[in-house]
């Protein structure tokens, strides 16, 4: 077969991308990430404790959600080359050819402008500025720079994911006191153990795409040690709101019990061999799962539940009217 004939055959073997549907544009906004952002932002908004018109509160949450979606679209535009190489992401609208990269870029820029302008007009310009900073940090600092160049990518880049409760707090009150930044610190310190636990059993995918995630750049043993270290920092930070007049008895109970489980799982992971080698039985799975992945999977799953439980406890206490503990206040 001639080269021309081979390339023709290759062309006809590729399934043509179907026309973009509006649902593809919704996928560009990373709705699952958006749901976590909305939840933490809502917690910040409610914890601010300032009277706020419910309609304006809803607009603030909408702006944060749309801003998060805009970041997702910008990320998918820039990372299309990486996404195409990874099993987990190659079906995304841009690498799959259903949406043009330029369309994703346009959507991201337009939604960024709309969300920031509306936030400034409806709430205040401190919240709008923080939202603009978050979008720019995620799209430019994390996506375009950190992600491709340093194994510390998700540590520093985690700041973008940690800012939504601060934005929510600022939207409600026009200020960002220490308790707002404590919520930031909790998510910031949660991100490394959470992301690296996932990366430990999906690092084959990252290596293929050339993304220097910690297990790819420094190895699984170093990653497991660092997960333990960050867990030791994260759990006390998660307990701290009970001592600063932010969390009440429900929060303290959830933070203490969940924190104990989190530390136990992090320790089990630290003494395991998770991420050390490929598991031939699972080489064709969705993520190219690594051998002995169970401790990493357990920590990953519990990390999501724990963060959700922490913020749900804060939200529930404010809604029900449970007074915060003031142990050291």
């Amino acid at each position: 077969m001639t080269t021309t004939a081979q390339s023709l055959q290759a062309t006809t073997d590729v399934e043509p991308a179907r026309a973009a549907r509006w649902s593809d544009y919704v996928l560009l906004l990373k709705p699952r990430v958006m749901s976590l952002v909305v939840f933490t932002a809502l917690t910040g908004l409610v914890c601010a404790g300032k009277p706020l018109n419910p309609f304006l509160g809803a607009v603030a949450v909408l702006c944060i959600a749309v801003g998060a979606g805009a970041s997702g679209a910008l990320n998918m535009w820039f990372d299309a080359d990486i996404d195409a190489k990874m099993r987990r992401t190659r079906a995304r609208p841009v690498p799959a050819g259903r949406v043009q990269g330029a369309d994703a870029l346009t959507l991201g820029v337009v939604l960024s402008l709309f969300s920031v302008m509306l936030m400034g007009m409806a709430l205040n310009w401190l919240a709008a500025g923080l939202l603009a900073f978050t979008i720019a940090f995620y799209a430019i600092v994390y996506t375009m720079w950190l992600k491709r160049f340093t194994p510390q990518n998700i540590v520093i880049g985690g700041a973008a994911g940690a800012l939504p409760p601060v934005i929510g707090w600022a939207a409600a009150s026009g200020t960002t006191p220490l308790n707002a930044w404590l919520l930031f610190l909790i998510i910031f310190l949660w991100t490394p153990p959470h992301s690296w636990a996932l990366a430990l059993y999906t690092s084959g995918d990252y290596a293929k795409a050339g993304v220097p995630m910690m297990p790819v750049a420094k190895g699984a043993a170093s990653t497991r040690r660092q997960i333990m270290l960050y867990s030791l920092l994260f759990v006390p930070a998660a307990l701290a709101p009970a001592f600063t007049g932010l969390g009440g008895p429900i929060y303290l109970t959830v933070a203490a019990l969940g924190g104990a489980v989190f530390l136990l799982l992090a320790a089990r992971l630290a003494f395991s061999t998770a991420g050390d080698g490929d598991d031939p039985r699972k080489a064709e799975g969705l993520y190219g799962v690594k051998a002995d992945a169970r401790p990493a999977r357990n920590l990953f799953a519990v990390s999501i539940l724990y963060l959700f439980a922490l913020f749900a406890a804060l939200l529930a206490e404010r809604i029900v009217g449970v007074a915060p503990l003031e142990l050291f206040r």
């Binding site: 026309a19 509006w22 309609f55 509306l118």
Partner: protein, 50 residues
């Protein structure tokens, strides 16, 4: 020779649907800005600065 401007019926339908969604989103944005303006002004709608 095929017409370079020809568009498959399915692609044309998808494009029309996207355009309607876009128009709807823009309309909602305008309504939202209008509602926010009213809420922000509140009882001061009728007051004129002296």
């Amino acid at each position: 020779m095929s017409d370079p401007l020809w568009e498959a019926p399915e692609a044309a339908k998808a494009r029309r649907r996207r355009n309607w969604v876009l128009a709807g989103a823009l309309f909602l944005f305008v309504v939202l800005v209008f509602a926010v303006t009213l809420v922000r002004l509140g009882g001061n709608v009728a007051s004129v600065p002296s």
